[in-house]
């Protein structure tokens, strides 16, 4: 638990709205990446990030300082993204819309190097797999923090992580083979 976070939260609850700014500065990139991992689009992720912070600000009174602010806000972000995806699915069912959600990165013909292959590989994974890889490999959450954020057991964390890593490795291998064929 970060003492700076707890102090900032206390200050906001005492009425100092500006004390929320350090929390936004500290976590905006993480929340943006987490939303992007789920929503697969930077524009949608940006909008979702703003909504997540607003939600967190409005429900700050429900935050208990015994838990880490980081895992608390990550959970808000994840639930918000799940809500958005559900709503979009419902809308597409209602209006018979055929969505084309391809990210510009995945529209490229072939990956240039390993980083590109990983980026493209991530786009081929499920939302759940992208989410856990983002939280672990990019945000650096521990098993315990993952367990708290995702609200699953430690064994489930390990199992999900194993599956996600294996899936990404398979995607990257597949993309590399495709690239080799194109080059040949």
């Amino acid at each position: 638990m970060d003492q700076r976070d707890t102090d900032a939260v206390q200050a906001v609850l005492m009425g100092d709205v500006n004390a929320f700014a350090p929390l936004v500065t500290r976590y905006q990139s993480s929340i943006l990446r987490l939303c992007q991992a789920r929503l697969k689009s930077l524009a949608r992720a940006e909008e979702a990030t703003q909504e997540v912070f607003l939600k967190a600000f409005r429900s700050l009174e429900s935050y208990r300082s015994t838990a880490s602010f980081k895992t608390w806000i990550y959970r808000i972000a994840m639930n918000h993204c799940i809500d958005l995806i559900r709503r979009e699915k419902l809308e597409s069912l209602l209006f018979w819309k055929k969505k084309n959600e391809q990210d510009p990165i995945s529209q490229r013909e072939r990956p240039v190097d390993l980083t590109d292959a990983v980026t493209e590989g991530m786009n081929h994974l499920s939302g759940e797999e992208r989410e856990i890889l983002t939280l672990r490999e990019i945000e650096g959450l521990s098993y315990d923090e993952l367990s708290q954020t995702l609200q699953i057991s430690l064994e489930a964390v390990k199992s999900r992580l194993r599956r996600a890593r294996q899936a990404l490795l398979s995607e990257v291998t597949l993309l590399s083979k495709k690239k080799e064929k194109v080059v040949a």
């Binding site: 943006l32 990019i138 521990s142 194993r162």
Partner: protein
């Protein structure tokens, strides 16, 4: 046995319990497939970490804080408004109370029929003559 092959993906994790790590390392010594998988993953993982700096949104903090401040102002204004309403209701209640409550508690016991209630209303000033006339005419119509 299948799990031990899959567990190779967890070997690089610092928070993996030592007993599990020993088990995987022991397995790695004999399994070429898992050695290859582990080596490949070791190459991919750093690229995944470097995704962190790929995309940024300019002025995101400012945009968020503008919305937060607006939300804070709105809730403060809402709170003030409700506090003002509550104060007015309380003041009105206390101002009106002496006129509604009968001065003599025996009067309440006397309210055994509609006429005595009306009489009490007249005596305590809750209803004046005009209001009584209107009510009587309304009943007759």
């Amino acid at each position: 046995m299948k799990t031990i092959h899959e567990n190779v993906f967890l070997l690089g994790d610092a928070d993996l319990p030592q007993s599990e790590r020993n088990q995987i390392e022991l397995h790695l010594q004999d399994c070429l497939d898992c050695q290859e998988k582990f080596n490949k993953w070791q190459m991919v993982a750093p690229s995944l970490g470097s995704q962190a700096s790929l995309e940024t949104v300019p002025f995101l903090v400012q945009k968020i804080m503008a919305q937060v401040r607006e939300s804070g102002d709105n809730s403060a204004w809402r709170l003030t408004k409700w506090a003002a309403y509550a104060s007015v209701v309380v003041i009105l209640f206390f101002l009106g109370l002496p006129q509604i409550i009968p001065s003599d508690s025996n009067d309440i016991l006397a309210m055994d029929n509609e006429d005595s209630v009306m009489e009490l209303a007249m005596n305590t000033g809750v209803l004046d003559d005009d209001a009584m006339l209107e009510m009587t005419l309304g009943e007759q119509l």
